[in-house]
């Protein structure tokens, strides 16, 4: 058994909740769990992954000591269902880790009364992760729940219909990616049948089979449902080629090949115009001389790698898929990887941001995965599609230039007076030396300090290394002199280096 640092995936209950909760319709969810299982995913985490203050229509049994030791939760569930069934057509009871460990018998309550239904979802929270939870529940809704719901009429449209499977709550940057995928679907002349679960009502899952193709937003989940539906599947694309393949593939599957080609041509003249211009400009040169790392969920890890490495020419230092460390014994230790070879830019979640800060690495952090406490609700920040190509290019470019600016010479206002005094002292020393009044001993660089400076310089991005090396040398010697030493220490170098991060 091994201790895992900062676990960054959650369990099947969260996955199930995050599939059900975004859907509209007259249904509610009952969480069979203690207070924490109610408030943490519904109130605390969701407030940061999706910036939603809390969820309507979610209730909980709030397991208390007596329920664990004696009663179980069946009675509470029964009473809750009794109270709620008058208000809702469907009730979904979700198991969570605690009700599973006390073997709560919620499944006994599955029932259909006067067209109102109670569903029990065993989320396998003790054993499954949230992606498996999403995957399983999506399939379950399609296979078992849809059949009992009133069949919704087929959408009348002369355009071919496409489903979008995902996003759910708790993904990263999903609002923007979802908007971009929808834009592409409309752009090639197709129509969205069901966007499940983000823009559909519960009853709409009865229409899933009406679509001619399925877009699975993420490789992490949704595929089981896609396979069960048996239509052509396409995954949310990141990068130029991936997006082109996606659009053409979708066009072929829907009989819209000419429209797809025309859309791509039009995109090159419009959405991608900005990318083309940035690519032609000097920005692109620093892409090819810089490094990046990514530790994210599979779709983003693969997509960013393909785009930044294969298309923009970055060198890739770190590649990791978050779930791998739970599924394989040879998973990468992200902290070691960061220390061994810190890239200029790193895409990850809050954990890696903390490691970078803890070790005072020069690496610039860019959010690209959950958990990450930032608001990500603008639809103008996609990573997917052609709009994503432009957006990613813009953020990496700005980050790299910000590194450059942080090395551009600056006189810090609070230090101005001290600097002036220093100059005057130095001038006097120099004059005294020329007049033969003073013998100045040069500040020496011991072997070990020199070696340390080399090491430190390697952490500095190549395109600012010259100015950084100058600054390190001059400033370190200044510190040594201030402390009346005639040699520079490793600590002096580190002290100056830490200022680079301002």
């Amino acid at each position: 058994m091994q201790m895992i640092r900062d676990v960054d995936l959650t369990n099947g209950y969260w996955g199930a909740l995050y599939v059900l909760a975004p859907m509209r319709g007259n249904f509610c969810v009952i969480i069979d769990g203690p207070i924490g299982c109610h408030y943490v995913p519904v109130d605390s985490a969701l407030n940061y992954t999706d910036a939603i203050p809390y969820l309507q229509n979610v209730y909980a049994t709030h397991i208390l000591e007596g329920d664990v030791a004696l009663d179980g939760t069946l009675n509470k569930l029964k009473k809750l269902c009794g109270e709620l069934i008058d208000h809702y057509d469907d009730i979904f009871i979700l198991s969570c880790q605690e009700s599973e460990i006390i073997s709560s018998e919620g499944s006994m309550l599955e029932a259909e009364v006067d067209g109102r239904r109670i569903w029990y979802i065993h989320t396998r929270s003790l054993d499954s992760d949230d992606f498996q939870g999403r995957d399983d529940l999506m399939l379950h809704l399609y296979k078992h729940v849809a059949a009992k719901l009133p069949r919704q009429p087929k959408k009348t449209s002369d355009k071919p219909l496409v489903n979008i499977i995902g996003p759910t709550f708790g993904n990263f940057n999903h609002y923007a990616d979802f908007a971009e995928v929808k834009r592409i679907v409309h752009g090639i002349g197709a129509e969205i049948n069901v966007a499940f679960p983000f823009e559909c009502a519960l009853h709409d899952i009865t229409r899933l089979d009406d679509a001619a193709a399925n877009i699975i937003m993420y490789q992490e989940y949704g595929q089981k449902l896609g396979e069960a539906m048996g239509k052509p599947m396409f995954f949310g694309p990141i990068g130029l080629e991936a997006t082109q393949e996606f659009i053409l593939g979708l066009g072929d599957a829907l009989g819209l090949r000419p429209q797809a080609e025309a859309f791509i041509a039009e995109e090159k003249r419009t959405t991608l115009q900005g990318f083309w211009d940035v690519w032609r400009s000097p920005h692109q040169d620093i892409f090819r001389t810089n490094t990046f790392g990514v530790y994210a969920h599979k779709t983003y890890a693969d997509g960013l790698s393909r785009f930044l490495r294969d298309e923009l020419g970055f060198e890739q230092y770190i590649y990791g898929v978050k779930t791998d460390r739970y599924r394989s014994k040879n998973a990468m230790n992200i902290e070691d990887a960061l220390l061994e070879n810190p890239p200029t830019l790193f895409f990850g979640c809050v954990n890696e941001k903390i490691y970078i800060t803890e070790h005072i690495l020069p690496t610039r952090f860019l959010p690209a995965a959950t958990p990450m406490p930032i608001v990500c609700r603008s639809t103008g920040t996609p990573f997917m599609g052609f709009a994503g190509v432009v957006y990613i290019t813009q953020i990496v470019s700005n980050e790299l230039f910000d590194i450059l600016y942080s090395h551009i010479h600056i006189e810090y206002t609070p230090e101005k007076d001290k600097r002036r005094r220093d100059r005057e002292i130095a001038r006097k020393e120099w004059e005294d030396q020329l007049k033969g009044k003073l013998v100045i001993t040069e500040v020496k660089w011991p072997e070990e300090t020199l070696a340390h400076m080399e090491k430190v310089l390697k952490k500095v991005p190549f395109f600012v290394r010259v100015s950084a090396s100058k600054m390190l040398k001059v400033e370190s010697e200044k510190i040594a002199k201030e402390q009346f030493r005639d040699y520079v220490t490793i600590e002096d170098v580190d002290q100056v280096y830490s200022r680079f991060k301002r």
Binding site: M1, Q2, M3, I4, R5, D6, V7, D8, L9, T10, N11, Y13, W14, P34, I35, G36, C37, H38, Y39, V40, D43, S44, A45, Y48, I52, P53, Y54, Q56, Y59, A60, T61, H62, I63, L64, E65, D67, V68, K76, K79, L80, G82, E83, H87, Q97, E98, I101, I102, S125, L126, D127, D129, D130, Y326, V350, N351, I354, T357, E358, P371, P373
Partner: protein, 443 residues
């Protein structure tokens, strides 16, 4: 969110374990380990990394097959020993969460085998609120230190404070103790375990937040007395200074003088231009300081009809509760979110200080609501400076009502995701929720 009538709900609280982590992750040299389910780990890490400390939390992945494993205890011990070899922490708080407690993982036995371990049991079904989980964490730390014999250097006329406060308030306390001729030795919880050691060797504890009942028992066992409350508002400032002076053995005449001076300073602020006459404020907190905040607001002339908290009633809450009840104020212990929502609807406050969900409801109703933790807990409260700060904030919030209503009105004609249906909001506001409302409010 309709109130649920059929079952007994738990008190409104995030996962209580978060309260424990807030204390434990902030201590330097501590390496916290969670025992539970990965769902708990994810949520608690997420919360802790931005509300407690930017510090790693360790945990083993435990699946159902592991809970059936007879060697689980040994495997966990080995894993913990491995961590100790690699990271060399000073202490390892091992926190048993719901699932681990239910299957009976014996952390006390682990602590007997590995001296660095501080065993801590916090569950969503047993620990009543995240505030009280802080008490459990402190109790665990003090127990450990006492086992190590760190309580044997008693110092007379020395004071330590228990309760998370704004850093400026800690300095305020230090200055105040100096005026009284007392030594202020430590304020816990803090990031330095030495502060906890110092606290075990003072003569008097100032228990600033009224949920540290278990922790106070730890002090009582070694003969250290405590006082409750804090120097917030006019009456409390005077009483508290007199109390601490009497318990810690300060000069009585000096104490009277200091208490009068500080009380007058607070009175000048509260009765000055920052008074809150005509403002109705609802105080729906959850971590114990809401009782003090409510008293301060009432002294400043605000109409506070309702005060609620997630913590339970105890001897520590008694003086403040009696004060509130004697003024006919509705005081709710162990409240649920629905209690607060009902109160918001019933009392129509100008400002609701509440948890995220209830604050969101308040905003939908056009009341200048804010999240208690981020806005109130992150401010100085003590003496004149604290009063000035809190009252100033209330005036800011009152001024913000126009902007708030401008946005609320923009969305009034559309069925957005809401906690309260549009029609109810309109009934509540007594009109169509239109521009006229804003004009009326502005006038």
């Amino acid at each position: 969110m309709e109130p649920i009538k059929s079952i007994k709900l738990a008190t409104q609280s995030p996962c209580p374990a978060f309260g424990g982590l807030r204390i434990l992750t902030r201590l330097e040299g501590f390496l916290p380990i969670l025992l539970g389910n990965h769902g708990c780990y994810y949520g608690l890490n997420f919360l802790s990394h931005f509300y407690a400390a930017r510090k790693s939390i360790y945990a083993p992945m435990l699946y159902s097959i592991d809970f059936a494993d007879r060697n689980l205890h040994h495997k966990l011990l080995e894993a913990i020993q491995q961590i100790i070899r690699e990271e060399k922490p000073e202490f390892i708080p091992v926190i048993n969460l719901c699932v681990a407690t239910t299957v009976g993982i014996d952390i006390d036995e682990m602590a007997r085998q590995i001296p660095e371990i501080i065993p801590i049991r916090i569950t969503g079904f047993g620990t009543r609120s995240h505030a009280e989980a802080k008490d459990v964490a402190l109790e665990g730390i003090f127990k450990k230190l006492k086992q190590l014999g760190d309580h044997k250097l008693r110092e007379p006329k020395a004071v330590a404070a228990v309760g998370e406060i704004f850093p400026a308030d800690a300095i305020t306390l230090e200055n105040l103790m100096e005026k009284l001729g007392l030594k202020f030795r430590a304020q816990v919880p803090s990031k330095d375990i030495n502060d906890f050691r110092k606290a075990l060797n003072v003569s008097t504890i100032a228990c600033l937040h009224p949920f540290y009942t278990k922790t106070m028992r730890q002090f009582a066992e070694v003969g250290i007395e405590h006082i409750s409350g804090a120097p917030v508002g006019i009456e409390n400032t005077y009483n508290w200074i007199k109390d601490i002076a009497a318990k810690a053995g300060a000069d009585a005449a000096l104490a009277e003088k200091v208490a009068r001076e500080e009380q007058e300073a607070v009175r000048r602020v509260i009765e000055g231009p920052l008074n809150l006459k005509g403002a109705r404020i609802l105080v729906a907190g959850y971590e114990g300081i809401e009782l003090l905040v409510a008293r301060l607001l009432i002294e400043a002339g605000a109409d506070v009809p309702y005060v609620s908290t997630s913590i339970g009633k105890s001897a520590l809450t008694e003086p403040d509760v009696n004060w509130l009840l004697s003024r006919g104020i509705e005081v709710k212990f162990r409240k649920s979110a629905a209690d607060d929502l009902v109160a918001v609807k019933k009392y129509k406050p100008d400002i609701a200080l509440a948890a995220t969900d209830v604050a969101a409801m308040g905003k939908e109703l056009g009341s200048a609501s804010v999240y208690f933790t981020n806005l109130i807990s992150a401010r100085p409260l003590f003496l004149a400076h604290g009063a000035e700060n809190i009252l100033g904030l209330m005036h800011h919030l009152l001024k913000s009502r126009n902007s708030l209503n401008r946005v609320r009105e923009f969305f009034q004609d559309t069925e957005m995701a809401r906690s309260i249906p549009v029609q109810e909001v309109q009934e509540y506001l007594g009109c169509s929720g239109c521009a006229a409302c804003d004009d009326r409010e502005a006038n």
